[in-house]
């Protein structure tokens, strides 16, 4: 297999990879005003390469990735759907890519109008009253949401102390609550995988600022008691944060705003098809009910005389959370996607995401043990029971899948399921792909019984085999340094 050194290791002094613009300023202009000690002698450790060197290097690296464009990628809770190419075309239009965030409003009316339309579409999908497009990611959206809840309580007299979070929640929920100064109270999840009013009610008092609840939950199940739970929290003056990470299941089917949410965030990189980019950038718009609108972060888009403008004049706002107004490039992509689908297409999107997940669940029945045997929504979750006693673990199943060209599902999450395999196929996968995945899973589970070592040693056909992750953590090497010259063969 072709090896590829680090970009720094192929450097040749004096080689150039970019054709710079000319320096057309008269020679008498000098840079002598800067103290010599503040002037960098050079950035010698950076690589000196030709354009082809760089092109070959990153093209090769790209080929070592699994991606949606190359592989089925059923990573549960991440909604790895197809990212339409037309979105990429849109984001690169000079009218979007070339506009400066600090320009006066008359120069950016298109951008402002796009934001207003996108806000309206997200408000309709979520059943909420107002939207901010600012947050850079779901986690920042959560931060904004909990900050607003806190601002609401502070204005009413006191911040309150606690946020209730079910045990099945994503780790960001408790981390965000702590970041905003709240104590986290974990709510147990029933043996049916659901949150029950009976477990929430005893915890609800007037010190509860909010409940953060994911619907559908991380088992892919609709929380049927969510309306009653929201009512109980509201009765004590608390607010309801619905984590919209799994909105891909419910667009046009059920709206968080109609079932008790006061605030929710939506991950555009999940539900609305902006590419995950190997970990970002994403975008995490936050939708709120009227009572929280005064606290939305700045800037906000406003209708003004003769057009739209950005406003920071929001006396109760939680403030600013980033340098500029949002991950606009991602907003353009999501807007393009929603415009392509339309209201009917967005509903069809969710219907077929749910269809695909239920189809997989049904087809895998008998091969893997279903965590909760009830109809699921966008994803289905299995336990490790089918291969228990073989010495094979969930991780081994995940690794073996890679040999067959399938990315692994999310594993060991949610934490409330033993050895969880969480599979989210999304609506853009064909029946043939799902059937092929099922066939491979059947082969692998059979291997677990007949040849467990085959699995515990997997993968075999990938660029590298299993990694020594303990070594990475114990002796962290987090950057290249000149002269270290480590390459795999000699180490």
């Amino acid at each position: 297999m072709t090896d590829e050194r680090l970009i720094f290791e192929g450097s040749a002094p004096g080689r150039r990879g970019a054709s710079l613009p000319g320096d057309d300023v008269p020679p008498e202009i000098t840079l002598s005003d800067l103290e010599p000690e503040l002037c960098r002698p050079g950035t010698e450790m950076l690589p000196e390469l030709s354009e082809l060197d760089v092109v070959r290097h990153y093209t090769r690296l790209s080929q070592w990735n699994f991606s949606i464009a190359t592989n089925f990628y059923p990573l549960g809770s991440c909604t790895m759907k197809y990212n339409p190419i037309v979105n990429e075309w849109a984001a690169r239009l000079p009218g979007f890519a070339g506009i400066h965030p600090m320009w006066p409003a008359p120069l950016v009316q298109g951008a402002l109008a796009l934001c207003v339309e996108l806000e309206a579409m997200l408000a309709e999908v979520s059943g909420m009253d107002a939207v901010t497009l600012t947050p850079a990611a779901g986690a920042q959206g959560e931060f904004v949401g909990i900050k607003m809840i806190r601002a609401h309580h502070v204005r009413a007299g006191r911040a309150r102390r606690k946020v209730l979070i079910p045990a099945s929640a994503h780790g960001t929920n408790p981390a965000t609550s702590a970041l905003c100064g709240y104590d986290v109270v974990e709510i147990p999840v029933g043996s049916d995988g659901l949150v029950h009013l009976g477990d929430v009610a005893p915890q609800v008092d007037d010190d509860v600022a909010a409940i953060m609840i994911t619907n559908p939950n991380t088992l892919g199940l609709f929380e049927p008691e969510i309306g009653a739970i929201a009512k109980a929290v509201h009765e004590k003056g608390g607010l309801v944060y619905i984590d919209g990470a799994n909105m891909n299941a419910l667009c046009g089917i059920s709206r968080p705003g109609d079932i008790g949410a006061d605030v929710l965030h939506i991950n555009l990189h999940k539900t609305f098809s902006t590419p995950h980019g190997g970990g970002g950038p994403g975008a995490g718009p936050v939708c709120v009910k009227k009572i929280l609108e005064p606290y939305l972060p700045v800037p906000r888009v406003h209708r003004a005389e003769g057009g739209f403008e950005l406003s920071e004049d929001q006396p109760h706002s939680i403030g600013r959370v980033r340098t500029f107004q949002g991950n606009f490039g991602m907003l353009v992509r999501a807007f393009t996607y929603m415009s392509a689908l339309g209201g009917d297409g967005i509903t069809r999107m969710s219907e077929r995401a749910v269809l695909n997940a239920n189809y997989l669940r049904e087809r895998l029945r008998g091969t893997l043990a279903i965590a909760q045997d009830q109809p699921c929504l966008h994803e289905c979750v299995f336990t490790d029971q089918a291969f228990a006693g073989t010495g094979v673990k969930t991780l081994d199943i995940a690794k073996r899948l890679l040999d067959f060209g399938f990315h692994s599902p999310t594993i060991y999450f949610p934490l409330v399921v033993a050895g969880a395999l969480m599979i989210e196929p999304t609506e853009t996968e064909s029946r043939e792909t799902l059937d092929a995945f099922v066939a491979v899973m059947q082969t692998i589970v059979a291997e677990a019984a007949s040849d467990p070592e085959r699995l515990t040693g997997a993968p075999y056909r990938t660029r590298v085999r299993r990694l020594d992750e303990t070594r990475a953590a114990r002796k962290p090497v987090l950057r290249w340094r000149p002269g270290t010259g480590t390459d795999g063969e000699s180490d």
Partner: protein, 450 residues
């Protein structure tokens, strides 16, 4: 148009496999009162030609062709065509967080290279896999400094008034619910640099936060800030929003910054109305476990080959939950990749040359504007931005706007004391003739022509 592959036959057979007859049956288990029983009120979908026409029409309402001299945290520089061609490859763009390192070595090695480039440019021992942007990275740096100073009850954060206003606002938002934390402001002097002499001190400082260069384009002498911080046991946090400056200036780490953050947009990414960009975050090795964000580390696979994986995730939210160092769970990987590719193409000479072109262009522009009646407000050395003032500046700025020129950023909104001043940015993206046009239009506006 949608992107689902289901044929009518697929739908019928898949439903039948589950014993269902209609798609609606899939949702029967949702309580009826929690369902939306009407179509979404969103316009019908569009075919691709109509979609493209509609999106292009919106884009055309933006005046991207405007001749602009605004920087202020977002910079237009030359970007080699290879950057977007490589960074937009679907294999990078449509992968996710590299949880399965065996099939994510491309993303992982690229992040490892980014961490290295970040550390080199920032002059720090280590750097993470990236943050959302410059301001949120600065806010995370302050939170980290507060964590490190918690045992000594260090709760005062000194923010330079010369920091980008959005950075100060963002830090204020992130710190606002932390008990006992006080933000105090460091004034700037006549040279535009930190004025630590007239600072009124109060409380035990956790950190001091300064720009490098600052919002006014002035290059701070971070050595002064560093010794001030060191004498008080506090940390120095530096914030660079113009990454190209790091090709010319001594890196903040080498000047004593304990945590150095930067916005990377200016190298490889479009301004795109402010996002996405990428936050660089570097610090000392001894602070590693207090650092927020993802990290990629080098290791070997079971056959001894060099390989990379996510590491030290015990600091992170998915493991530590409410005890994590940050709630961040992604980075801006694809932007970090574009940044790394851009720096690799420029190389050390290209970066330095491009930086010097910027510094010289600014000095040329300041000279031309001086001839047109403006003068520099600050005496300190600058990189590619400078604060200028002169008679009737606000009125002339408006007149130029009507003629398709944004003559810098008026500062009065954030700095009443600089109410008549503009922040002017000149870069390699401006030709000398652009600067000449700015100066002559400014003079013409001076003569009262609309």
């Amino acid at each position: 148009m949608d992107f689902t592959p289901h044929t009518e036959a697929d739908l019928a057979e898949m439903l039948a496999a589950m014993g269902l007859s209609r798609t609606a049956d899939l949702f029967e288990h949702i309580p009826a009162d929690l369902r939306l029983n009407r179509p979404l009120d969103i316009a019908p979908g569009l075919c691709e030609p109509d979609l493209r026409a509609r999106v292009a029409a919106i884009a055309s309402r933006n005046r991207a062709e405007t001749l602009s001299f605004v920087g202020a945290g977002a910079y237009q520089h030359f970007v080699p065509a290879a950057v977007d061609a490589l960074a937009s490859r679907s294999e990078f763009a449509t992968a996710y967080t590299p949880y399965q390192p065996e099939v994510s070595q491309g993303t992982l090695q690229a992040i490892f290279e980014f961490q290295t480039v970040s550390a080199i440019l920032l002059g720090t021992e280590i750097a993470n896999a990236s943050m959302y942007d410059g301001a949120s990275a600065a806010a995370e740096a302050v939170l980290m400094a507060l964590r490190l100073g918690a045992r000594e009850e260090r709760r005062t954060v000194y923010l330079a008034r010369s920091l980008h206003p959005a950075v100060r606002q963002t830090i204020a938002t992130y710190a606002s619910d932390l008990e006992g934390v006080v933000l105090r402001e460091i004034p700037f002097g006549a040279d535009g640099r930190l004025d630590l002499v007239s600072l009124q001190e109060e409380g035990i400082p956790a950190c001091i936060v300064a720009g490098h260069p600052n919002f006014f384009g002035v290059v701070e002498d971070l050595r002064v800030a560093s010794s001030w911080a060191r004498a008080r046991g506090a940390l120095l946090v530096s914030v660079t929003l113009e990454p190209l400056a790091l090709g010319w200036l001594t890196p903040p780490g080498a000047l004593g910054a304990d945590i150095a953050v930067a916005e990377g947009q200016g190298l490889g990414l479009p301004v795109a109305w402010g996002g996405p960009g990428v936050g660089l975050f570097g610090t000392r090795e001894k602070f590693l476990r207090a650092m927020p964000g993802r990290l990629v580390g080098e290791t070997v696979d079971m056959e001894g080959r060099r390989a990379f994986c996510l590491t030290l995730s015990t600091r992170e939210q998915h493991i530590r939950r409410e005890k994590a160092t940050s709630n961040i769970c992604t980075n801006h990987s694809l932007c970090a990749l574009a940044f790394t590719i851009c720096v690799s193409l420029l190389g050390p000479r290209g970066l330095q040359d491009l930086a010097r072109i910027n510094a010289r262009k600014l000095r040329y522009a300041v000279g031309k504007m001086r001839e047109s009646g403006l003068s520099e407000v600050f005496s300190g050395p600058t990189f590619n931005e400078s604060v200028l003032r002169g008679p009737g500046a606000a009125e002339r700025w408006e007149k130029l706007l009507r003629r398709g020129i944004v003559a810098g950023l008026p500062l009065g909104r954030w700095y009443p004391e600089l109410g008549d001043a503009i922040l002017l940015c000149a870069t390699d993206a401006h030709r000398r003739t652009d600067v000449d046009r700015l100066a002559s239009e400014w003079s013409a506006a001076n003569a009262g022509r609309a």
